[in-house]
Symmetry: C2
Subunit: 332 residues, 2 copies
């Protein structure tokens, strides 16, 4: 352990390791010189941050990413890992119909982690937060055997009611906005030892959630919403169970992009399976009243039906999906 | 990995491992049957939680605890680890002069972790949150080689200005509330292979931060405040540097409790060193205007002086402390 008084004398470069510059040295290095958005009332450097919550409520979500489980530093740069860690949380805020305002970051990593790795990771967190105008307002760093990033995102509903998972009603239409299956295709490529095509590999490295579509869906009257992190079938299953309904997807409405078809052909895999079960693109899936005018970019993909005691809460063309496990959790 | 549809069929006991019941099984098990406080607008089970922020601001802080670095499961029960993880964050909220409202928990652990360990850890988080009337409103769980808990606490300033680190002015008095050195003594006992006296060992296992003293100090006009997590000298150093002042502690005002004197004698250690440099009790240290009436339980321990370009920002009886490193960070 390093006396904090020594950490205070550390140079300002990105040379060395976390163990050499210490906890306080790292925090100074990643927090200094960043410009905070208006919502940040008190940023990093005190016991806690203070963030505006203009309508008297704050939306909050935490996600944990672990090296070798969620990412590999030989597959992604540290900056890409930071962007992805931020995106996973920011998408959760958007899926409530809210606008992200701030991130807090809990980092654990080996003491011999290069400072350059950690500043790049921080750059990635800042870059993704910047996409939605949010700031990184606080965090903590501890030593561990394995690199792990726990991100908490905060957001504002701007006076609107939240869009929860439990509001879907029979007769509603089901729509999605954003990419489906791209990150799964990219992961499959990487797992086979390839590095291209870049467009799918990069979709795994840095998802592009349609953040603004969350508040837009809320304004358009969405009755339920979720971000697709476990796979479309699994996440629509969360909506169906929370709402006590059944969802029937129309597979013809789920176009398989030519790029995914090519990758599927190259790997001998069914690209439709990636669309239906691939997580980590953080598309948004929502239900709307049948008469709703869908906001820009949303595509209708199915219908909400009464549950009728059916076994499968999510069907594809009226039948249970038989293409394999319909979404995953993180334990074997 | 386990298909989420299988995790949905898991039994409701605490038998088995996380790998057997899966991510969703665990989340259901630790979230079900808890009663949420009024500040929780939307609790666990959706993409994000929603918490009341009545004055239009939210206070937020994140801390990371790692097994073998911050705790050992042969020294502390999982419930004690949960309490301690919560306390570390709740104390940060109190140190802003705020009242905690909610916790979010990012958990990473090996798939073979017993469910009973994780439910006990969750019980501890809930128990400590309950001390201040806060709820555990959300979280995430991932697999990792090492048990790690990242807790984010949210809080409300109830309309008051925050008490930051940078507000101390020459002439202010310095006061502390809460235990100093007890957790350090307990850790020293455990490191020597002993398990008693229980009162100091338990102080390491579960700190007892004086949560209510934070808002009380704010109401009494505290000019700067911090929670003692790195050690009194180190944490007053954070106030002194942020405020551009020097702090002079009067050692005669820091009574060494008889229990710490006994433990020091038994271990051949100087108990005053624990008082001055021991972290993890999460006492509160604050500065007040000289004429302030200190709230109940606060003890005056020193004075704020002009910095005068001095080398040591925190002095003891007018001199730099020479008893050893004055506080630690978490890297070697």
């Amino acid at each position: 352990m390093t006396p904090s008084s020594q950490a205070g004398n550390a140079p300002a470069e990105t040379d060395g390791t976390l163990g050499e510059i210490g906890e306080f040295g790292l925090i100074r290095r990643v927090a200094t010189g960043r410009s905070q958005p208006a919502a940040t009332i008190v940023g990093p450097g005190d016991d806690a941050a203070i963030v505006a919550a203009p309508d008297g409520r704050v939306v909050a979500s935490t996600d944990v990413l672990v090296e070798t489980v969620h990412f590999r530093l030989d597959w992604s740069t540290p900056e890409q890992v930071g962007r992805r860690a931020a995106a996973a949380n920011l998408a959760d805020i958007a899926a409530m119909g809210a606008v992200p305002t701030a991130l807090l970051v809990g980092l654990a990593c080996p003491a011999n982690t290069p400072v350059a790795t950690l500043t790049a990771l921080a750059d990635g967190l800042w870059a993704e937060a910047g996409v939605v105008g949010a700031g990184v307002v606080g965090g903590d760093v501890a030593s561990s055997a394995q690199l792990m990033v726990a991100v908490t995102a905060l957001g504002s509903l701007e006076g609107r009611p939240p869009v929860l998972r439990g509001g879907a009603r029979p007769g509603d239409l089901v729509a999605v906005r954003g990419r489906l299956g791209w990150a799964a295709a990219g992961l499959a490529v990487l797992q086979r030892g390839f590095r291209s095509p870049a467009v799918v590999v990069n979709a795994h490295r840095v998802p592009e959630p349609p953040y603004a579509a969350g508040p837009e869906a809320a304004k358009a009257g969405a009755t339920a919403m979720i971000d697709v992190s476990d796979g479309l079938l699994a996440d629509l299953g969360h909506i169906a169970r929370a709402s006590g309904v059944r969802i029937d997807l129309r597979s013809a409405t789920l176009d398989v992009p030519a790029r995914l078809r090519d990758v599927g052909a190259a790997l001998g895999a069914d690209p439709r399976h990636w669309l239906l079960t691939g997580g980590d693109d953080h598309a948004l899936a929502a239900t709307f009243p049948a008469e709703a005018l869908l906001p820009f970019g949303w595509v209708r993909v199915g219908t909400v039906e009464a549950a009728d005691g059916a076994d499968s809460v999510v069907l594809v063309d009226g039948r249970p999906y038989d293409g394999g496990p319909a979404g995953w959790d993180h334990f074997a």
